[in-house]
């Protein structure tokens, strides 16, 4: 057998996606901070004409953080973890190397076009699926390129068994592919009308309640398969690797995986409780949401138990702290969601600020912390330099944790206040409050949310600074660290 000493993992694509994770994170969170401030101080809507209004910026915020920041993070980690758990280098296949780079550049161009069209107000008005049909076609091409990289790498693997993380990456790929295609079925009006209106405009192939059902089947799951599934893929690799502890129970991970795969896709109709969709479908969404606690907590508990006997690392290693807290926020978020899906609770929670509160303890605590911890873990391995500052990670951790707690607590109070006020009736059955009464009373909570957004964004800037310094001036390392990530004090 010939020994090839020069063979190494190739991180060039992982590096490119690392850069866009930081870039889109800054843009998405900056816009998020601005729109949080706009809700508290409406005059901020008029800073840059139509381009600065809440309605224009809100889709920009959600799409840039989901499809910019999170997807870049997912792909940065995939192009890193994928090679390592399959024990095969991208450098071994010129075709896969080309596909990886093609995937990145097509994605980057597509993302920039998407940002511009959203700013121009070109949208098909579906939440998280705003992009008009030409961009949808580019999205499909981007997704297919990832699929080729994913299955291509699996095809030339040395390790026969696919590690847990890969099951989740595959699930994210397949789940989003199916959901995105179905939800974006649309008719470009220009072509069927014989040249009337804008070439970019389209209407959904579904109408009324059916459109709502398909939209929330997509809305809950496509985002879930990004927010949840692909982030679980990361924690199953990075927490064991960073701590040096094998995953607590591989069997539990199998059970959680199949449980999640089966249950997740049925829960989307909980977004439509008390709406015009059939009652049985609302009940089904509610039940499956509650059942979803089991596989979600299965993964989270498996992660926490992986630290068994090694809890000292929580105080010694800030990356473990980020990941353990990410897992804890995942537990909080996945118990809160099912609670909101119970019909009687939903009667109060629906359409209130408790919903964005729930979303943000998940995305800021779970997705954000996990993505940053993963990039910190990868940085010394892909840039061959130690982390620039451990202290900055600690500072960032506490600033952002404070931000998250302020965000969801203020939104809990705001949401429940709103829900109760909307329902309140006097002894004659008349509504006690007008809509503007609720707006006035929520002002302090919206201000607290703005402060929390500023805190989280500040923490993210610290992360970005620490990463850039790590890439450029930090001390070089000669040997790749095995487990614990090296960092300067």
């Amino acid at each position: 057998m010939q020994s090839n000493a020069a063979l190494e993992y190739d991180y060039s694509v992982a590096k490119l996606f690392t850069f866009t994770t930081i870039l889109f994170g800054i843009i998405g969170m900056l816009v998020g901070t601005l729109i949080a401030a706009q809700l508290a101080f409406p005059e901020l809507n008029y800073l840059i004409g139509e381009y600065g209004t809440f309605s224009r910026l809100r889709p920009l915020h959600t799409d840039v953080v989901i499809y910019g920041f999170m997807l870049s993070g997912i792909w940065a980690t995939f192009y890193y973890v994928g090679q390592r758990v399959l024990k095969v280098s991208m450098a071994e296949s010129k075709f896969l190397m080309f596909m990886g780079k093609f995937h990145f550049y097509l994605y980057f161009v597509g993302a920039l076009i998407a940002v511009i069209t959203l700013l121009l107000g070109i949208t098909q008005s579906k939440e998280y699926a705003e992009f008009e049909w030409p961009i949808d076609i580019v999205v499909v091409l981007i997704w297919v390129s990832w699929g080729i990289s994913l299955f291509g790498l699996i095809g030339i693997r040395r390790e026969k068994s696919l590690y847990i993380s890969l099951w989740y990456y595959i699930a994210a790929f397949l789940g989003v592919a199916m959901l995105y295609l179905f939800n974006n079925m649309a008719v470009p009006t220009y072509f069927v009308s014989g040249g009337i209106g804008s070439v970019l405009h389209s209407v959904s192939m579904y109408s009324g309640t059916n459109d709502a059902l398909v939209q929330w089947w997509f809305g809950h799951n496509a985002v879930g398969f990004v927010f949840t599934v692909a982030i679980i893929a990361q924690i199953y690799y990075f927490l064991p690797k960073e701590s040096g502890q094998a995953v607590y129970s591989y069997k539990l991970s199998l059970l959680s995986f199949w449980g999640l795969m089966f249950v997740y896709l049925w829960a989307g109709s909980h977004h439509l409780i008390w709406s015009t969709v059939p009652d049985w479908m609302q009940t089904m969404g509610s039940i499956f949401s509650v059942v979803l606690i089991l596989p979600s907590w299965g993964s989270a508990i498996n992660m926490l138990l992986t630290m068994k006997g090694e809890w000292n690392q929580l105080t010694e290693n800030p990356l473990i702290k980020l990941m353990v807290l990410a897992s804890t926020f995942y537990m909080l978020s996945t118990i809160e969601g099912p609670i909101q899906s119970i019909k009687s609770v939903n009667a109060i929670a629906h359409f209130t600020d408790w919903i964005p509160g729930h979303v943000h303890d998940g995305v800021l605590g779970w997705v954000g912390f996990m993505t940053m911890a993963a990039l910190y873990h990868m940085a010394p391995r892909i840039f061959k330099r130690e982390i620039y500052s451990k202290k900055l990670i600690d500072v960032q951790f506490w600033i952002q944790t404070t931000g998250i707690v302020l965000y969801f607590t203020s939104m809990w109070i705001a949401g429940i206040t709103q829900g109760m006020m909307w329902r309140a009736v006097d002894e004659y059955g008349n509504l006690m409050y007008s809509f503007i009464d609720t707006v006035a009373i929520l002002h302090p909570y919206y201000t607290i949310r703005t402060v929390s957004a500023v805190l989280y964004f500040t923490g993210f800037l610290i992360f970005a600074y620490n990463m850039v310094k790590t890439m450029t001036v930090s001390k070089e390392i000669s040997q790749e660290p095995t487990n614990r990530t090296p960092m300067a004090a």
Binding site: M1, Y9, R158, K160, G244, Y250, K251, L255, T283
Partner: protein, 72 residues
């Protein structure tokens, strides 16, 4: 039978079916380990020992001799 009643039965039997499936799967996992047919926990090491020249936990039989080069 009314639709409501039918839905009730469907929900009940579906729940029982899912519970049986889930526990069945757990029993299957533990039983196949006890019988020595599978050792699931060894796969957890894939993440820890992930150098390109590390010995795979299970070698991919389809990989060509030439490709095996990196594994000592």
């Amino acid at each position: 039978m009314e639709l409501r009643e039918l839905q009730g039965y469907a929900t009940f039997f579906m729940t029982i079916f899912l519970v049986v499936m889930m526990y069945g799967y757990i029993i299957h996992l533990y039983r196949s380990e006890k019988k020595g047919e599978r050792d699931y926990e060894k796969y957890g090491k894939i993440a820890l020992d992930d150098e390109i020249d590390s010995k795979p936990i299970e070698k991919n039989p389809k990989i060509s001799e030439e490709k095996k080069g990196a594994n000592k």
